[in-house]
Symmetry: C2
Subunit: 237 residues, 2 copies
């Protein structure tokens, strides 16, 4: 029987690649997404498309209202999304988000008797977000061993972070080789109702640079009116 795994799936480029890797490694993938009050909630639509396209065994979307706590531009539309690539912990950091997401993945793993959890954190994230760093993943893996029925009795529970030491271009190259259709992924923090990216937020910027460095065409649909390098000149130019 195929071994089950829980795969955190946001609808973005990283987690889609992570799901493709888990599939390549032979797991029956149970994808888990969260409706956590993110302003780019349309990403969940793409998560569902990706789960299907990448052959997930199941896909769940769990509501968890992190917006109730506040403290992040990603769940509070009164705070501006940064577009300047500034350093430090960005305002788009959602407090303890990956701890909460991995905890819920652990709960599902316990129910489904899955001993493998996949999360798409990578080196480009952990420059800014504390809960994307290797020491965080390591500490969560240690916790997982003692936190559940599965971990009790010394049976291994593994947290896989296969993108941990890759940059965006490397992730895109890897995923393309595994058949990921990046036209189905969204990374933008400010998606419009049609699912088009702003092209300006830090997440868009990293993504665009990734496609450029990988030497691949960027399949992302961008919003009208955003001036891109390759956009036609507007009436004011």
């Amino acid at each position: 029987m195929t071994r089950p795994a829980i795969v955190l799936l946001s609808g973005g480029l990283d987690s889609a690649t992570c799901l493709a890797i888990a599939r390549r490694d032979g797991f029956a993938c149970h994808a888990l997404s969260f409706d956590y009050g993110q302003r780019h909630g349309q990403e969940l639509h793409y998560a569902a498309l990706l789960a299907q396209a990448l052959g997930a065994a199941s896909h769940r979307i769990l509501p968890i209202n992190l917006a109730a706590f506040g403290g992040s531009a990603l769940t509070d539309s009164s705070l501006a999304i940064p577009e300047d690539g500034s350093s430090g912990i960005p305002i788009t950091y959602v407090p303890a988000r990956n701890t909460v997401f991995l905890s819920l993945a652990l709960a599902l793993a316990d129910v489904l008797q899955a001993r493998d959890l996949f999360i798409g954190v990578n080196s480009q994230d952990y420059s800014g977000y504390p809960d994307c760093r290797p020491e965080f993943i390591h500490a969560f893996a240690t916790l997982a061993q003692v936190a559940t029925r599965l971990g009790v009795g010394g049976r291994d529970l593994r947290i896989h972070a296969p993108l941990q030491f890759l940059n965006k271009a490397e992730i895109i190259t890897l995923g393309t080789g595994l058949g990921v259709d990046y036209a189905l992924t969204r990374s933008c923090y400010q998606l419009d109702a049609a699912g088009r990216a702003c092209g300006a937020c830090d997440s868009c910027r990293l993504r665009r640079e990734g496609f450029e460095k990988a030497g691949m065409a960027d399949p992302t649909p961008y919003q009208d009116g955003v001036l891109l390098d390759h956009a036609p000149p507007g009436p004011d130019n």
Copy 2:
């Protein structure tokens, strides 16, 4: 300024005592409860009463539908609540519940700049539930240091489990000294609509024994028709 703390509050005897301890220790207590699909959801009513009676600075009830994952008699009313005090991990274990609850407490701590988290796990629980054991609390404390903005930069984040090595009778004695009104607490897994305890489930049994061993009157309202030691004989007797 009074230092803020996050206190997990279920409406039960243990977490009420834990809140009283956090108050005694001088913290401004932000109580956090979860509407997680527990069949004894009325406990949340008592959590709100306790937060007020014990002087919490705030009280939040966050919905998080753990029942969607299944796997526990505590969230699945088609499974029977055990009444036999059997050993091993009980069917009332909710997969990864304390990991999820502490993760969300950590998120709130990060938002409120609180470096102290209180949880009422105790020795009577950790005989059966993996996520009540000292090694679990220790692993979570280690995770907390690297998981959030607060933990970054080596600043301490503490997980307090002040009941960890106490039994029910000791907890009741301690809490009574701190002014906890246990008539406002509920421990039963099968509360009726009026908030009366069944008197028969494992949680009721432990609670009743606790009051007996502490030499205190048990203020719990029990359901009609449940034959207690001190109940009047019914028509069949």
